[in-house]
Symmetry: C2
Subunit: 476 residues, 2 copies
């Protein structure tokens, strides 16, 4: 499985990078076999995978060609949030989203739920069951406040891929990334402090700022390169910012990966103004390219980056296994972790540790990356096909979220209400802003295996939006 | 099993209440059989259980007699903490306690760990394993922010025993009682606010106040009747108190159960001064008498009591399944829960729900109550036997913690250090005070089945204390 996957990823990333252009002929099966020292059938498998992903198309007797450019929705412009610190609102809309219990009659395009049906997750379930049968019942005891030592070793090993050299004692296990975020924010900030955030930004992190009494300063953000360093620098000059909270790799909700040079420049800026950085990397392992992008943390030489992540997006959210590498804030984060939940549930920690140690994590990731990439392509196609003309959309480089921008005057809150009657749920754009901007935007999840049912749901979103827009234009 | 247990409990509570005095002859087996409509062997089983618990002793051919008064350590005096709001200290000592990883060579008398080896917990482990094998994989999904609905139904049913009429929608599931406490405090208080606490008080709750920036006002507390209402009233007159944080049933660390009349009076006081009450009931189900004591919440008619609990003491702490009934603060608590951990790990919730629904909870509690009561009796005996003369100790009515008071000048921090070298760990008294009082006190756990090894550990504590006291007296 590994060989052809690796080859497909290599070719896929060359196509994505434009080394092979749309319509161009790709190297022959024989040439690739010689070049990479793999069998002919391995190359054929790799091409078939790329074909499944819509990246190449075979022409009889001529070989494989890069697929012609798909029609893609235009990108949103760089965001223009209010450039002053604001008190965060929108809790009611977030509550509506997170109160929803999974229901077979509702397609939940709104939530940050990965696909947990993959057969590559089977060993995790096996491990969960085995732990319950062990005579020493490790799942029942209190854990050390740092979290399970075996799990922390595995996480430290995984993070080498992102350029981080961490030891198990640099890590604190948390109840999902949520707890990592709130402990980190509380370790650095006091109520009333100003936190700079990329914008749009994950609603959970923003509500955490709200709940802790911080003010958010939303920084303009580009849908391809991420937070505007120019705007950020202006803000750092103007305001006493304590913390920069950011999701630079496989951003939620936009899906961009901030280029490495900009990551380094961001860190330099933080050093110059002596500000801490909270780096949310929860989708980072789901970048469509391999090796995965480097973290800000990997460039951090004075411990100012608090790197937060979890297995909620890569494995399953119900496990609630997250972690934080808090750098110089370790002691403060430990205190915050202690008062927040005491310790983290044991059995899920042990199962995740086993899953990684037994070598199941990377094959699972490979499969999910490829599935999500295909999901993105289909979702973009559907938006082009079913959404009102002029609709813009992000171009995710990882993860499983698409950010969609409708005309300026549009209200996705109304859209969501109309959709719920039809059994479809989306995430409204306003919850991704501290001050309720992005009312004309929405976020959709493309993690689920693409079925006719999912396509029909996306179609309903587009057609309902069209109907509401028409009604608006005719004053209805 | 139920019949003889019930009878033993009834007789035991009559003895505890003094209806039968030490040395007095108890009703004959035949008389009890007729009176209660049970078989002779049921009565005999009941008497044998009471004998095991040291409450009665058989005399050949004469029947059963109430056991002669055991020599008990004297009770501590009512506590005299500093009666002004203070910033909370002692984090370093708490961290030392919670950083300790279970180790086979160390007897941890210091931690709040129940006995999880009981065969009555087997169905819980079975259920944890079964959930992992279910095809719909409920353990992997995000849960509703309130927590699993089935579990909340079961909790609502259990709480009827404490006089509470709660519906599932009145409850929020949390990651252990810790999260219930911190969400509750944050729902009511702002940083800088004053919180009145019983004293000594659970270190976790106190550290939560510290981490959230509150000040603690420690109220004198009686080792039998709990927080002094007179002192509390004075404090309420003098200070702008926002919240009363209290563990009235099976108090940690003292083990008392506040009498019902005083619970009602406390609530009246809170109403008069319009203050919220955080009621920590995490040991409440482990009262040695049945039915369990009523909660403050059960008398609350205007929603000012936030009742917090978990299954960490009754089942197992590694599950991290707690809950809160926040009364009028429900919406605020939901927000705090969301920002704290998003949602609670699913599989342990489902397993606990099954365990209760299938009828395993009450038999398990009966067994643990009886084991812990016997543990208390033995621990008190050991303190009498091995500790320095003049040592005082609490008289727990539930739970598995003993509070021990050594002479005024003694320093249990030094004792703990000396003990760690001998493979024994205690909880030092100072962590149970906001301002580091109770330096001459310690807390020991008597949950573990009483073995020679445990007795040897307690003996080491007493003998090391004696040695340090002697050295102190001779100026060493």
């Amino acid at each position: 499985m590994t060989l052809y996957f690796n080859l497909a990823e290599l070719l896929g990333s060359r196509i994505e990078q434009g080394l092979y252009r749309p319509g161009q002929r790709l190297p022959s099966v024989r040439a690739l076999s010689v070049e990479h020292g793999v069998s002919l059938s391995t190359v054929q498998q790799a091409y078939r995978l790329l074909e499944d992903n819509g990246l190449v198309s075979p022409r009889p007797k001529s070989g494989y060609f890069v697929a012609e450019d798909r029609l893609l929705p235009a990108l949103p412009d760089i965001s223009r949030p209010a450039q002053r610190p604001v008190d965060i609102s929108q809790w009611e809309q977030v509550l509506e989203l997170v109160r929803a219990t999974p229901h077979p009659d509702v397609i939940q395009l709104g939530r940050g739920m990965p696909d947990v049906d993959s057969p590559t997750l089977k060993p995790l379930l096996r491990s969960l069951a085995q732990i319950s049968r062990r005579m020493d019942m490790p799942g029942l005891y209190y854990d050390n406040i740092h979290g399970n030592a075996h799990l922390r070793e595995q996480i430290a090993r995984l993070m080498l891929d992102s350029g981080c050299r961490l030891g198990p004692s640099d890590l604190v296990v948390t109840t999902g990334c949520h707890e990592a975020l709130s402990c980190s924010i509380r370790a650095v900030c006091q109520p009333g402090d100003i936190v700079a955030v990329d914008s749009p930004s994950f609603h959970g992190a923003m509500q955490t700022l709200k709940g802790l009494g911080m003010k958010a300063l939303e920084i303009p953000t580009d849908p391809i390169t991420g937070i505007s360093l120019e705007a950020l620098e202006l803000a750092l000059e103007q305001w006493p910012i304590k913390l920069i909270q950011i999701t630079p790799s496989c951003n939620n909700p936009m899906g961009y990966i901030m280029p490495e040079a900009r990551k380094k420049a961001l860190l330099t800026l933080a050093q110059r103004y002596d500000v801490a950085i909270l780096e949310d990397d929860v989708y980072g392992d789901l970048a469509y390219t391999y090796p995965r992008p480097r973290t800000l943390k990997s460039f951090d030489d004075d411990g100012r980056v608090l790197l937060c992540s979890s297995f909620s997006k890569t494995l399953a959210p119900g496990l609630r296994v997250g972690w934080v590498a808090p750098g110089r804030y370790l002691e403060r984060v430990l205190h915050m972790k202690y008062i927040s939940t005491g310790s983290t549930a044991c059995q899920p920690q042990l199962a995740v540790a086993d899953f990684i140690a037994e070598g199941h994590y990377q094959p699972h990731l490979r499969r999910m990356r490829s599935q999500y990439q295909r999901g993105r392509d289909l979702m973009c196609d559907w938006v082009t096909r079913y959404f009102p003309p002029g609709t813009r959309a992000s171009r995710p480089q990882g993860g499983f979220m698409l950010w969609v921008e409708l005309p300026e005057s549009f209200d996705t809150l109304r859209l969501n209400r109309a959709l719920l009657e039809q059994g479809v749920q989306i995430a409204v754009g306003s919850i991704f802003s501290a001050s309720g901007k992005y009312r004309n935007c929405l976020r959709m999840n493309f993690a689920a295996r693409p079925t006719a049912q999912v396509e029909a749901a996306v179609r309903k979103v587009g057609e309902t939006a069209l109907r509401l827009l028409d009604a608006e234009r005719t004053g209805g």
